[in-house]
Amino acid sequence: MKLNIQGVSKTFLARKNRVLALEDISLDVKQGEFVCLIGPSGCGKSTLLNIIAGLIHPERGTVLMDGHPVTEPGPDRVVMFQDHALFPWLTVLGNVEFGMKMKGVPRDKRRALALEFLRMVHLSSFQHAYTHELSGGMKQRVALARALAINPDILLMDEPFCSLDAQSREILQVELQEIWSLTRKTIVFVTHNVREAVYLGNRVIVMSARPGRIKQDITIDLPRPRRMGSLEMIKVTNSIMQELRGEIETVLKEELHDA
């Protein structure tokens, strides 16, 4: 077992109220699995990802990575954020090399590897550009190359495509599927987009509205490469949508009640 989450709970303080964000989450992720976490907004899926990353500490429960408890962030669990989080003071190449530089990979080797990953995301010609010169989709590609270049044991993706326009998003989904087929990285991918989850994941974990619990753990064994909008995909997507609808209504009711 690559990643082992046991009984993780987390509460937050919001306007002096204690809000239970995650309740007793247990989840195992195998080597090479592509797991999508899906749920209505505020279900704590990003919180769970941050706990796996070591950026947030759980209140109860443990996260084991290859059997070792996670206590702090580290390059074995690289996060790709919704907001690209590229460094504006570095060029595209500098950004992709960053993690390897932290690891102490020699200059020539890290340059060669960085170029290889930039080729993988089709951005070789932009290696000397600064990040503000790139479009949103290109920035996320650089972020993906930067994360892959570190060669993490597990890649954590926190709604990485959700702020992109529809076309860029679709292109990146296709590319991510290709890259995953090529590298077989273990990936935990947070999204609120059911189609995206079904398209990308080997498993889709459906979470409930606050407090976040695991509601369903669905194995998607559709053959790859998958095609967006194929009949089987639509079927699976619809059944998960059905499942989620109730949760989304709960959230809506709660939010309207709050307001």
Partner: protein, 252 residues
């Protein structure tokens, strides 16, 4: 092109007015020199190397003093920006000390170090270090947390984290502080050099007064002004420009 022409015209007219006032003989020539006299002194000063030596000595001093303030300011500023406890305690103190005009450190410097090089260095450092410290502190505090999170998940720790993440992320603010620090340091240095036979530009200026050589005073003042401007515009100007291009701030 047109604007350059206009600027040149403006300064030519200014020189003519200066010459005109000189020719009115409102004041005796030893109180108010003609521009020609000043340029002659300027040329002589460079020809007999006395100005060059003065510039060299002053630059050497300021590079030392400013260099020390820079290292000190960045290290202390980083500590204050990173540790809450220091922020609450040392922060306000430094803010208070910064508001003290650097010349006010002279009596203390003279008492502690005597009338020598060290007193001057002390005042230069005191003049520049506080604003570099506070600018660094500000820069560190305003680093977008997303950069720090990204850096930590990519394994940036300790000194590497400081050198490759915190410092470059805070650089825009640090450059602003450096610019301000430089101008404070330059002022303090000139004030300090007037105090004794320090051989720097400040001393040359004071020598003009002692010899009743008004054109020397004007000439040295021009040199001091030009040098201050040159460093501000060229060194820091280029740094700022490069940074703005990288960060994409010019597009705004």
């Amino acid at each position: 092109m047109r604007s350059a022409f206009r600027v040149i015209c403006f300064y030519l007219i200014l020189l003519l007015i200066w010459e005109g006032i000189f020719r009115l003989h409102l004041w005796p020539a030893f109180l108010f020199p003609s521009p020609l006299q000043v340029f002659e002194t300027l040329a002589n000063g460079f020809y007999d190397k006395s100005f060059l030596i003065g510039i060299g000595i002053s630059m050497e001093r300021i590079l030392l003093g400013f260099g020390i303030s820079l290292v000190l300011g960045i290290v202390v500023g980083f500590c204050i920006g990173s540790f809450q406890i220091l922020d609450g305690t040392i922060g306000p103190l430094l803010n208070g000390l910064r508001s003290l005009p650097s010349i006010c450190w002279f009596p203390l410097g003279l008492l502690w170090f005597g009338l020598n090089e060290n007193a001057i260095n002390f005042v230069v450092i005191m003049g520049a270090a506080f604003c570099i410290t506070l600018a660094t502190d500000d820069g560190v505090k305003n680093i977008s947390p997303i950069y720090l999170r990204a850096a930590s998940t990519m394994g940036a720790k300790g000194l590497k984290r400081f050198w490759y993440v915190i410092l470059p992320a805070a650089l825009p603010s640090i450059i602003t502080g450096m610019k301000l620090g430089w101008s404070f340091a330059w002022r303090s240095l000139m004030a300090g050099e007037m105090l004794y036979v320090s051989l720097g530009l400040g001393h040359l200026l004071m020598m003009g007064r002692e010899l009743n050589d008004i054109s020397q005073m004007f000439a040295v003042m021009l040199v001091i002004m030009a040098l201050g401007l040159l460093v501000d515009k060229v060194v820091f100007g280029l740094m700022e420009r490069e940074m703005r291009i990288r960060w994409g701030l010019n597009a705004l």
